[in-house]
């Protein structure tokens, strides 16, 4: 930056530079898209620390919301990437049980090795994602409608095939110790192994969005897909890849649930549809695309989970949790909008101040 200024030693250019270097932390802090979710999380955490008391703050309390956060987070991250790219994916709500049933039917009902069931589940996730992506780019129907259709279609398919193949809507699955250890067990009796998978996926998605060039493509496609295509970005392939990512992650959660609980149900997982959207939006991702961050999605996920589980540590009826989440969602979005607008105007305002 310094050499840049030396090249064109104009007064107006140097002044704001100097002022910014004095306040780097404030400037960059306010500009963070996830400021709203940081405040939201702090508020929620303080609230439940007061009303939930020591139990909420204990290791067991932490485990209860972390476990929820891990499963939700694994789905919210790719759903968030899609939302930044301007697309929704509601079909995760059916992908989770479809994947649970796939692994349970193949490895439980038909006694195939667990690895076969796992790979088939993940493969199914990729296929469903591919179909979603292809439908979205080919039909040009809004992704809300397309994935609503695949949500129902996949739910029907799962139910129908389960009845035909097993005669039941719930199938038991016994998996060996290695599969348990890797995919569905409690560490220290409390923490699900999916926590580690969540951390790994945070790292991968963080790399994609913040560090790799694909992050730039995702932001650009969500910001203005026509301009992005004109700039030479393979928008269709990118969209398909992102849907395959969310299909894969939803499938992962489904199969790990089946392995953890030793059984699979046809009707599990619908809660992921809205919960993932809430986590992502609370995390500062713009519903219409073009803006968002991985840190924000993680914070939104944790905030949701803390409310969802924290309520059990208070004396309140658990039904109040939804009310809190509803209010939180509104507040977080309003705050995120405010901070986003500040990010747009922040630099300009400092300049006027320095000049006058």
């Amino acid at each position: 930056m310094k050499s840049e200024t030396a090249m064109q030693p104009s007064e107006a250019a140097i002044a704001p530079l100097a002022s910014r270097s004095q306040w780097p932390s404030f400037g960059s802090l306010v500009r963070r898209p996830e400021m709203g979710s940081v405040i939201g999380l702090i508020a929620v955490f303080v609230f439940f620390s007061i009303f939930g008391g020591e139990d909420f703050l204990s290791v067991g309390g932490a485990a209860s919301w972390l476990n929820v956060a891990a499963e939700l987070g694994i789905i919210a991250l790719p759903v968030g990437l899609l939302m930044i790219a301007g697309q929704l994916d509601l079909s995760v709500g059916s992908m989770v049980p479809a994947s649970s049933m796939t692994v349970a039917i193949i490895s439980g009902h038909f006694h195939a090795p667990i690895i076969v069931g796992v790979l088939a589940s993940l493969g199914l996730g990729l296929v469903v994602g591919f179909v979603n992506g292809l439908l979205v780019i080919r039909t040009r129907v809004p992704s809300f409608v397309v994935t609503l259709a695949t949500l129902f279609a996949l739910a029907g398919l799962t139910l129908g095939l389960s009845i035909i193949l097993t005669g039941s809507t719930s199938v038991a699955l016994k998996s060996g110790p290695i599969a348990k250890l890797l995919l569905g067990d409690y560490i220290g009796g409390k923490f699900e192994v999916t926590l580690f998978w969540w951390i790994a996926i945070v790292a991968i998605v963080g790399y994609i969005l913040n560090l790799s060039r694909y992050g730039n493509w995702i932001l650009a496609v969500g910001g203005d897909s026509v301009s992005a295509r004109n700039a030479g970005i393979p928008t269709d392939r990118l969209t398909i890849a992102l849907y395959m990512g969310s299909g894969l992650c939803a499938a992962f959660v489904g199969l790990s649930q089946a392995i953890l609980y030793n059984s699979a149900q046809v009707a599990a997982g619908q809660s992921f549809i809205f919960n993932s959207i809430i986590a992502v939006v609370v995390g500062g991702v713009l519903l219409t695309g073009g803006y968002g961050s991985v840190v924000g999605i993680v914070l939104g996920t944790v905030t949701f989970s803390v409310v969802n589980q924290g309520i059990f540590y208070t004396g309140f009826n658990a039904n109040w949790a939804s009310l809190i989440i509803g209010i939180l969602l509104l507040l977080a979005v309003v705050m995120n909008n405010t901070f986003r607008n500040m990010a747009l105007t922040y630099a300009a305002r400092t300049k006027t101040r320095t000049r006058s």
Binding site: P16, S212, W217, S227, A231, L344
Partner: protein
Amino acid sequence: MTIPLLKLTGINKSFGPIDVLRDISLDVNRGEVLCLLGDNGAGKSTLIKILSGVHKATSGVMEMDGKPVSFDSPRDASDHGIATVHQFGGTFQLMSIGRSFFVGAEPTKRWGPLVIFDRKRANEIAVREMRQLGITRIDDGNRLVGGLSGGERQALAIARAVHFGASVLILDEPTAALGVKEAAHVLRIVLQARQKGIAVIFITHNVVHALTVGDHFAVPIRGSKAADFRKGEKSREEITDLMAGGEQMAELEAEIESYMTKHEGHPPRVGG
């Protein structure tokens, strides 16, 4: 005469039953500004979308340096050195200057085993290129594009095209939404690009802007080329008449004339 950098012969374009362009032939030369002047819906944007690989011509020949070319995608056109700043969009409101500048052509570096987007370099280059076009107020590539003024955004888009070594720079109404000062700045940038030997295609409704920078003018009317002339061959009034379709403008003038004689020399009140 040297071979024109870009030569169009008999270009037609229809969208289904609608003929939007009819038999357009044009030469675009290095170091010249070609102005496309024309009324709304004349087909200017459609023509440059063909040049930039967004649409394919229904028929006709496009040559670069005397060799026939055909663009399958915007990427294809930009690989041939044609950079376009489209009429709507082209910049990403909620992306940083550095990110927006390099969309689709990100600089990368190695970071351990990973290949990562070189944000620092992207920001530096973007800011430097904008400064070279005289936008000295911008010093931080992390600023969001949405916080820039209209002229600064145009400059960002033009700087991007110049940086990636465009030999043809197409600007679709870059001054349309700008105030006098910002428009003047964009015009200066256009002349700067011309000086570098870039062929500029400049679309505008504003005859004054066109006359300020243009070397060569073409006026499409309802999809056909109505006129093609060089600097100094036509006056401002003649060009205005041409754009409005000749007679209509004369009619309007006659109307105003008769109004003024009826109202003892008072021109009609505007917006009353």
